[in-house]
């Protein structure tokens, strides 16, 4: 079988290439089905309880998708004729935002004033022409005392104001809709920025988040993927020192990526912030296969074999290791299917497919290409000498290396458990991204950027007008306002109090809740009548007025603090308002929970992956003993890596929660290659020391080269502006490097120290087999 396959690849290279091309074309055609998705929902499976709660709330009350524009004059505050006119004009212009249904700012706030028996409802600033010192003083007084505005649409020091644009996306082509609406606002800001050079504009809101998800993904696709490609080509030329071999590798990489993306397209998988980097990862992993094949071939060529013989030699040596390592790598990535996050599952599946395709192409298309391309004998590089020196060092010093290595490993690994799960969508973005800078500014100068919505059910139609219910809601609103994390609270009780005051000739003593149900209901009727275009009560009351929504704006907390706040608030509601049911939801809360849920499920699958991969290793090496030895270089790199991470950052997000699984699949390769060569050395009759030297000699350089390539690949990923990707790249790269160090220092030291008695058995079995 193997012979047949090798013969067809080597004797009929053109035929092999034609078949491969046909298959590649069919697979790649699926690329036309690929599309980008950037909304935050891609992080949540359809049955995610926090998302269901959030959608339930959005169905009950109005959807709250928005774009917030913060307007910050560099000097003075916003209460100057100039800036107020700017806010007025921007508010007016923002109505043209695609899909917008409402625009709110301090200028179009519906100010209600009681004059005798007249109730005057008017924009706080109807026309900029009305601005004089009195008007401005009046506006400042209203803005600073009105709960709907203070620390929401104007900062407490008056230096920053905001315009909030509510949008209703039809969700037919959501990505495009987000882009259309958000870029319209960006263009408005740019236009006003040229007119008002003394003013800075910042953008936030759900649409800004969605836009940032999509634009960072596209940025990665357009910068990181080509950069990765360049890095790989350069490294191949440098390491393989053969133009034709490098070109053959580049071809394999390209067809692997196209086929992988094509299959993803056929399967209906979309590109997202996570999957956009699949090409980078697959490229990296495909290179490893090719390097092993080509390095062996060059080794054979140096020994004077013909090109055809050299390819044959390389193929017979590498077929099994490449297959096994591809399987283990795939298993690592396939465990991502246990993740709670759909796009991480996509990442795992796409990469697993890519890895198997790379394996397929590097044992069919690659030999065929190598057969056709010219091959020259490449002289031995300096690394080979370095490898010999390293082998000497390990053999001579293994009694010192082992204890020092073990102490270092255990010492660092001990910190791994101190990492804390923390998922905050805003913090997924690097500080250098526009989105993050905007959010940080708004957070520091205006108000929090995270929301938490509470729905409180009175359990009966029109129950929100019941004074007992209102009293409780008002107490809850007060409680929220007293919490240190809370910057703003929106509650219908504020509206009731204001109306009561208005109906009593604006007497401040009447800024309190109405005391009868019918009075409250009739106030609401009146309030509804005064509402302007695009505003209704539905964002605070449900259709039959049985429930109300109280929205707390919070400082951007870590996920632990946010879930802690949620628990505290729900506990308060349960004890203080036992007659009513309440629930909490928000996008921030969804992210706060997903990290924990995902981490829990990934930790559960890790032992499973470890057992599966170790079993594979034991079967392929046909040795229990070596299987047990392999555990240390397989487990320790991730533990040490996470230990170092704890010292470096200490925070684990969604991207990092999968690193242990995927790195396990990759680093096992090193162990497989080293141990299989060690085993071959033993079988060829050498003692432990000789077998270790043999393993160093035959596979050390290839391991070094592939590790450098892999590290480069993940280092490129680490340059992403999106921390899920950059952190994943950074830590995976680190773990791969640690794996090489452990494989080349600790593993041989371990073998030299403890694998003395196994030697004779091995020899026996080889003799009987031979």
């Amino acid at each position: 079988m193997q012979q047949f396959w090798l013969n067809s690849a080597l004797r009929h290279p053109w035929l092999t290439i034609s078949w491969a091309l046909l298959a590649i074309l069919i697979m790649s055609a699926g690329m036309s089905q690929l599309y980008f998705r950037g909304d935050y929902r891609i992080f949540f499976s359809p049955d995610n309880p926090q998302m269901l709660a959030f959608e339930q709330m959005q169905n009950e009350f109005n959807k709250s998708d928005n774009i917030l524009i913060a307007i910050a004059p560099r000097e003075g505050d916003v209460f100057s004729p100039e800036i107020l006119e700017l806010i007025w004009r921007f508010t007016d212009a923002a109505w043209q935002t695609p899909y917008s249904s409402r625009v709110d700012s301090i200028t179009n706030f519906q100010h209600t004033e009681a004059v005798d028996d007249d109730l005057l409802v008017e924009d706080l600033l109807l026309q900029p022409a009305m601005l004089d010192a009195d008007k401005i003083a009046g506006m400042r007084q209203v803005a600073m005392s009105e709960p709907a505005l203070y620390r929401s649409l104007v900062s407490s020091d008056g230096k920053v104001a905001a315009i909030n644009v509510i949008v209703q996306l039809p969700e037919i082509d959501q990505n495009q809709e987000v882009v259309d609406a958000y870029e319209h606002v960006l263009a408005l800001s740019a236009q006003f920025a040229t007119e008002y050079p003394q003013v800075d504009f910042y953008h936030a809101g759900i649409l800004a988040l969605n836009y940032a998800f999509a634009s960072e993904a596209e940025k990665d696709a357009s910068t990181l993927v080509p950069l990765m490609f360049l890095v790989i080509v350069l490294m191949l030329l440098l390491l393989l020192r053969s133009f034709s071999a490098a070109m053959a590798t580049v071809v394999i990489i390209l067809v692997t990526i196209f086929s992988t993306l094509g299959i993803a397209g056929w399967l209906g998988i979309f590109l997202s912030t996570a999957t956009v980097n699949v090409p980078t990862i697959v490229m990296t992993l495909a290179v490893a296969d090719c390097v092993h094949v080509i390095a062996s071939m060059q080794f054979a060529l140096r020994q004077g074999k013909s090109k055809e013989e050299a390819i044959h030699y390389s193929m017979t040596r590498n077929l099994m290791p490449i297959f096994i390592t591809s399987i283990t790598t795939s298993i690592g990535f396939l465990t991502l299917n246990f993740s709670e996050v759909p796009i991480l599952r996509d990442l795992g599946n796409m990469t697993a497919v890519g890895v198997m395709l790379a394996c397929l192409f590097s044992v069919t298309l690659l030999p065929a290409l190598l057969r056709l391309l010219p091959a020259k004998v490449v002289p031995v590089s300096h690394t080979a000498n370095g490898i010999e020196k390293l082998a000497n060092f390990v053999v001579l010093q293994h009694r010192k290396i082992l204890p020092i290595g073990i102490i270092l490993m255990l010492g660092l690994a001990a910190f791994a458990a101190t990492n804390q799960v923390n998922d905050v969508a805003v913090k997924y973005f690097d500080k250098r991204t526009d989105f993050r800078q905007s959010l940080d500014f708004i957070e520091d100068n205006l108000t929090g950027t995270a929301n938490l919505d509470f729905a409180i059910e009175s359990q009966q139609t029109s129950g929100v007008n019941d004074p007992a219910f209102l009293t409780h809601v008002a107490r809850f609103a007060d409680w929220l306002e007293q919490q240190p994390e809370v910057t703003h609270v929106a509650s219908i009780t504020h509206v009731f109090k204001r109306l009561n005051k208005n109906m009593h000739g604006d007497d401040p003593d009447y800024y309190r809740l109405p005391e009868q149900q019918d009075l409250a209901a009739q106030y609401l009727l009146m309030y509804e009548m005064s509402l302007p275009f695009g505003l209704d009560l539905n964002n605070q009351l449900n259709l039959d007025k049985s429930a109300t929504r109280v929205t707390a704006t919070l400082q951007n907390l870590g996920s632990k603090e946010l879930t802690g706040f949620e628990q505290r608030a729900l506990a308060w509601l349960a004890t203080e308002m036992p007659d009513y049911t309440s629930s909490a939801a928000s996008t921030a809360l969804m992210f706060a929970h997903i990290g924990e849920r995902n981490m829990a499920s990934m930790l559960k699958t890790l032992p499973f992956a470890l057992v599966l991969i170790s079993a594979l290793l034991i079967i392929s090496l046909r040795s229990w003993r070596l299987g047990v030895f392999s555990l240390i270089p397989n487990i320790m790199p991730a533990l040490v890596g996470f230990g170092i991470w704890a010292l470096y950052s200490g925070e684990i997000n969604l991207g990092l929660s999968v690193v242990a699984s995927i790195s396990l699949g990759i680093i096992v390769d090193d162990t497989v290659h080293f141990l299989s060569k060690y085993q071959r050395g033993l079988r060829e009759g050498q003692d432990t020391e000789g077998a270790v030297r043999y393993a160093f000699h035959s596979v050390g350089r290839a391991l070094f080269v592939t590790t450098v390539v892999l590290m480069a690949g993940f280092a490129v990923l680490a340059m992403s502006g999106f921390r899920l990707n950059s952190d994943m790249g950074l830590l995976t790269g680190l773990i791969i490097m640690l794996a090489l160090i452990i494989d080349l220092l600790v593993l041989p030291a371990l073998l030299l120290r403890f694998d003395n008695k196994g030697k004779s058995n091995e020899n026996l079995s080889t003799t009987t087999a031979g």
Binding site: N59, N62, K63, W95, Q96, T97, P98, Y99, S100, S101, Q110, D117, D118, L119, L120, V121, E122, L126, Q168, P170, T461, S462, N465, M503, Q516, Q517, D518, L519, A520, A521, Q522, Y523, L525, M526, E528, M529, S530, L531, P532, F533, G534, L535, D536, L537, N538, L543, D544, K545
Partner: protein
């Protein structure tokens, strides 16, 4: 001098030709105004009415909430009509009453009587596009149709509800209107409105109103017994059902002043 006269003559002739052409082929604006005037004329002279209505509010998922009310209306020939709406359901707003004097050109006048407060309040607001009792109808959708409020353009003929209709573009003249324009389907047989599409200020379709179950009163005036308003942007909808309408109730201006508002129950 001679040249001047000749030029004058030429321009007069040109103008005359132009006007002849216009007379032969009315412009879209003229045709739109003609059709809308005919619509108004056909609905003039009905006097006064008393109607009871049910409003059913639906959210995007189809959950419902009901409102019951009665409306007294008085036709005012040279200005906007007067209307008094008394709320019956939900119970906690029963007896609340809302009085509007629609004005053709100026701001409408509105008063509200809340029984729990037992005082009449005049509401001074430019908002006509806010929601009527939480429904998808805005106040301006329900106020009387006056030619002066709009400019018109005839667009095309089209079949709708099985009727041959004119499609007219109506552009509100009030800068505080929530709409940039409306498209109105008027049937050719009786000049009744069959459908209205409302476009928001950025020109996107906001709502669609369709009229159903037209019945004729006093052998002349048509009233729809069911109106359906669907919001295209948030998928909420409202049905306005006309349960009963009586004409010639002998209502006068005195039934539509602030004192009447307090008496209304």
């Amino acid at each position: 001098m001679k040249t001047y006269l000749r030029q004058l003559l030429v321009s007069v002739c040109l103008c005359a030709t132009a006007s002849v052409v216009v007379a032969a082929e009315p412009t879209a604006a003229e045709e739109g105004l003609r059709i809308s005037t005919e619509r108004k004329v056909r609905d003039t002279g009905w006097g006064d009415t008393e109607a009871s209505m049910t409003m059913i509010l639906r959210d995007a998922r189809g959950r419902e909430s009901r409102r019951e009310m009665r409306t007294l209306t008085l036709e005012v020939l040279d200005d906007g009509d007067k209307a008094l709406t008394i709320f019956d359901e939900p119970r906690d707003v029963r007896g609340s009453a809302f009085l509007t004097h629609t004005k053709a050109l100026e701001q409408d006048e509105q008063w509200l009587f809340l029984p729990a407060v037992n005082r009449v309040r005049r509401i001074v607001s430019r908002n006509k596009s806010g929601p009527f009792m939480g429904s998808e109808f805005a106040y301006e959708d329900l106020s009387s149709f006056e030619l002066e409020k709009f400019s018109f353009n005839y667009l095309r003929d089209e079949q709708f509800h099985g009727e041959d209709c004119y499609v007219i573009e109506q552009i509100p003249q009030d800068e505080f209107s929530g709409y940039s324009r409306m498209l109105v389907w008027i049937d050719k047989s009786h000049y009744r409105v069959q459908q209205i599409e409302y476009y928001d200020r950025r020109g996107a379709l906001l709502k669609t109103l369709t009229m159903h179950d037209y019945q004729q009163y006093k052998d002349k005036f048509w009233r729809p017994h069911r109106m359906e308003m669907l919001n295209a942007q948030n998928q909420k909808s409202t049905s306005m059902l006309l349960n009963e309408i009586l004409f010639d109730r002998g209502l006068t201006d005195a039934d539509f002043d602030q004192n009447a508002l307090q008496r209304a129950r």
